[in-house]
């Protein structure tokens, strides 16, 4: 295989891999993070099902909650200013708003730190409630799985302290309340079962049996709000750089055209078939071995030795073994027993015996040659 072929194959393999990854990289049920319909690790389908099991009617919507709705959850704040103001007015009128997006302007608290000492640690640190909010009375510790902590809002309270801040803060606004949570990860499918996370969700969002919860669909963005992660990598590249890239692609195309036209075709030349003269010998040897014909091979070796000894010692080809051995011992000084053993036509027990016989034959032959 030529280098060029290898390169082409490698290129094709990379291309196929990219295509496969692009289609198979995401699991079928994985939507974007925090997707209320997603059963993936980062989805929030578990939260919805939990609330429904607790008798709540969950509206996954981008619409503002109506007066009949008393609890709303903003996992990701994608509301523009007018709708933020409207939502704020809904809180003033008595709604309870739970916000898990620390950047949301709806949160009255300020971020003061991280909920974890080591944000890169594999296992997150659990936080203990340490507050007297009646609504969270049944929640002991939660697994925040990242996120931030807030300072205590003026006139409000903070729970699950860490460092200088609190992972959950609550403050009254008008007739309603705003509960800020340091991050949405606490409610995703893979984390909601840890610690008392589900109890936290139930306490905040399902406090009233048979109630109605509005869950703002994080996949929706209001006009005028930059969608989180909405831009592709290509869209992030400046257009000038893109044009320069396309110019380089054109240059590369020209180079390909240049290299694609050879200065004369490769010259084909029929070559003679390389047949080893000794190929038949190798083939016969292999056949003997594969057929386990060690006795046949031994007989060939013995016949060769007998012929050699007869020639060298001037004996008849059909002279008895003892005569050949005697003459070899007398005239060439070869061990009589060794010659006899080599010429004996007993069946061989195995291949080591064949190797030993071949070595013995070679040894006797060398001694005869030297004796000459």
């Amino acid at each position: 295989m030529t280098t060029r072929t290898k390169q082409l194959l490698a290129g094709a393999a990379i291309l196929i891999l990219l295509v496969v990854l692009s289609f198979a990289g995401a699991r079928s049920n994985d939507g974007p993070p925090l997707d209320p319909t997603s059963t993936g690790d980062l989805g929030t389908r578990g939260l919805v099902l939990l609330l429904q099991d607790l008798g709540q009617r969950v509206d996954v919507t981008s619409d503002l909650p109506g007066p009949e709705t008393k609890v709303a959850l903003v996992l990701l704040d994608t509301l523009n200013q007018p709708r933020t103001d409207a939502l704020s007015r809904w809180v003033d009128e008595g709604g309870t708003l739970v916000v898990t997006d620390p950047r949301s302007s709806l949160i009255p608290s300020t971020v003061v730190g991280s909920s974890q000492r080591d944000p890169l640690a594999a296992d997150t640190e659990r936080l203990t409630r340490r507050c007297n909010l009646p609504a969270l009375g049944e929640v002991n510790n939660i697994d925040p799985s990242g996120g931030v902590v807030f300072d205590k809002p003026e006139g409000g309270s903070g729970c699950f302290p860490h460092g200088r801040g609190f992972f959950v803060t609550a403050s009254a606004q008008g007739e309603g309340n705003i509960v800020a949570i340091g991050g949405p990860a606490v409610f995703v499918n893979s984390v909601i079962g840890k610690g008392d996370n589900s109890v936290l969700a139930a306490s905040l969002l399902a406090a009233t049996p048979g109630g109605r919860v509005t869950l703002f669909d994080p996949r929706h963005s209001d006009p005028g709000v930059a969608k989180e992660g909405g831009k592709s990598l290509g869209q992030l590249i400046p257009s000038r750089l893109k044009r320069a890239f396309w110019q380089l692609v054109i240059a590369f195309g020209l180079f390909v055209l240049l290299r694609g036209r050879r200065l004369g075709r490769p010259v084909l030349e029929p070559q003679p078939v390389p047949l080893a003269g000794s190929e038949i010998v190798v083939a016969v040897g292999n056949l003997l071995q594969q057929a386990k014909q060690r006795d046949a091979a031994a007989n060939l070796l013995r016949a060769d030795l007998r012929r050699t000894l007869s020639d060298r010692l001037g004996l008849s080809p059909d002279a008895p073994d003892e005569v050949v051995a005697d003459q070899a011992a007398t005239r060439a000084g070869i061990d009589r027993q060794q010659v006899l053993d080599a010429l004996r036509t007993d069946p061989l027990p195995g291949e080591p015996a064949l190797v030993a016989l071949a070595q013995s034959v070679a040894s006797v032959r060398q001694e005869v040659d030297h004796a000459r």
């Binding site: 000038r240 396309w246 590369f252 004369g264 190929e279 010998v281 040897g285 190797v355």
Partner: protein, 433 residues
């Protein structure tokens, strides 16, 4: 078809900076439009390759193992300087240092390029095309075209045994002129001259009539017969394709053919060649001129072993039909038991009846080495047994051929030609031809 040059690609790449610097979205279009326009103008100014004369000079004959030079000459018919690249259709086994050239031709000028070749196999090579690529004045575009420039290069087989041949020719001549002992077997049977008796001369060679006439002992001297015919029968069939010592048996046989031709023609005999496989491939009528070696070489150089069974009977019949005079027939073949017993042995009496026959074959030293090796593993022991059986089979084949009256020379590569020449000289000296 227009072909961009590396310069055009480089310019296009450099223009990426300009495109990035200009904020306009149309920069890409404008820059490449201009580049395309300039390239088109450059291409239009390239002269057509068909109008540029190009020639190739090949050495007519090379011997395998020697080096030769190929020269390309390109003429510029235009009034401005031209950059020309070319690629020649040289076979890989010519082992050219480069089969491409690059020239800058002055206006109305003629420039040459050269490269060296050292062929790795013999045969006939016929390069027919040279591809010419000419760049435009700006070096952005070029035109390319195949030009038909046929040529022939013949690569002859090497005569590796030339020194051995010279040695044997000189020795045979020394024996002929009687500088060595007259008791040697090189006396021949053809009367040469009378000379004074020396103590080493045989009594039977004394010419008593001449002795009585001049009053001192005079002996007759003889020389080997001249003008005898030697026909070399070169088997080109499948059995000669097997490689021994890295090259097919045919190559070793060719070396021996050359040696026999050189020795026999220099000693005054007439040498001819019949190369055959299923059919007769080449025939050189017997001759003893100085150019006979060249004629034999010319007849052989393009032969490649045919992977088919050789038809010995047809070859022998044709040889006997063409050359009726009693001759020494030297058959170069392989002593493969099956081929010999099925085809050669039945046909051999055709030529052995009225002619002296030598059969020359190459033994494989590898097989010999395997048969004598001390094996350490079972596979080697089996191979040793197979090698011993093969050699025994070969011995039996040789014995059967000798039984039909043929002289068999079975020698390893490098020794075949000298031993064959020795056998020829021996036959000649003993007057068996």
């Amino acid at each position: 078809m227009p072909i961009p040059t590396a310069r055009l690609a480089a310019v296009a790449a450099a223009l990426a900076l300009a495109v990035a610097a200009v904020p306009s979205a149309r920069a890409l279009l404008v820059v490449n439009g201009l580049l395309l326009l300039v390239a088109a103008v450059d291409w239009a100014l390239v002269p057509r390759p068909a109008s540029v004369p190009v020639t190739r000079e090949l050495p007519p004959i090379l011997t395998l193992g020697t080096e030769g030079t190929i020269v390309w000459r390109v003429t510029n018919p235009t009034g401005r300087r031209l950059h020309v690249r070319g690629g020649d259709e040289l076979a890989p086994s010519l082992r050219a240092r480069s089969r491409r050239f690059r020239l800058t031709l002055p206006a109305r000028g003629r420039v040459m390029a050269r490269t060296s070749i050292r062929p790795s196999r013999r045969g006939r090579f016929e390069p027919t095309e040279i591809v010419i690529r000419i760049s435009g004045p700006l070096g952005l575009m070029s035109r390319q075209k195949k030009r038909r420039v046929p040529g022939v290069l013949r690569v002859y087989p090497p005569f590796r045994s030339r020194d051995e041949a010279e040695l044997r020719i000189n020795r045979a001549r020394v024996l002929e002129v009687g500088l060595r002992s007259a008791q040697g077997r090189g006396g021949g049977t053809e009367f040469d001259q009378l000379r004074d008796y020396t103590p080493d001369d045989e009594f039977r060679r004394i010419d008593w009539a001449a002795t009585a006439r001049v009053g001192k002992p005079i002996v007759r001297t003889y020389r080997a017969e001249r003008n005898q015919t030697v026909i070399l029968l070169l088997d080109n069939g499948r059995v000669m394709a097997g490689r021994v010592g890295g090259v097919p048996r045919l190559e070793h046989a060719m070396d021996a053919v050359l040696m026999m031709t050189a020795v026999a023609t220099r000693l005054g005999d007439r040498v001819g060649l019949v190369a055959f496989d299923r059919d007769v491939r080449a025939v050189v009528s017997p001759g003893h001129g100085r150019d006979q070696l060249g004629r034999v070489t010319e007849a052989m150089y393009a032969l490649e072993p045919e992977l088919a069974e050789s038809d010995y009977r047809a070859a022998f019949t044709q040889t006997l039909t063409r050359f009726r005079r009693r001759a020494l027939l030297v058959l170069f073949t392989e002593l493969a038991e099956q081929a010999v017993s099925e085809t050669l042995l039945p046909a051999l009496p055709l030529i052995a009846r009225d002619h002296v026959v030598i059969i020359a074959s190459v033994t494989d030293p590898q097989v010999l080495a395997w048969s004598r090796a001390t094996p350490e593993a079972a596979a080697n022991a089996y191979r040793k047994a197979a090698a011993a059986a093969a050699l025994e089979e070969r011995r039996r084949t040789v014995a059967r051929l000798r039984g039909l009256g043929a002289t068999v020379v079975d020698a390893p590569p490098g020794e075949l030609a000298p031993r064959l020449a020795d056998a020829y000289l021996k036959l000649k000296a003993t007057g068996r031809l």
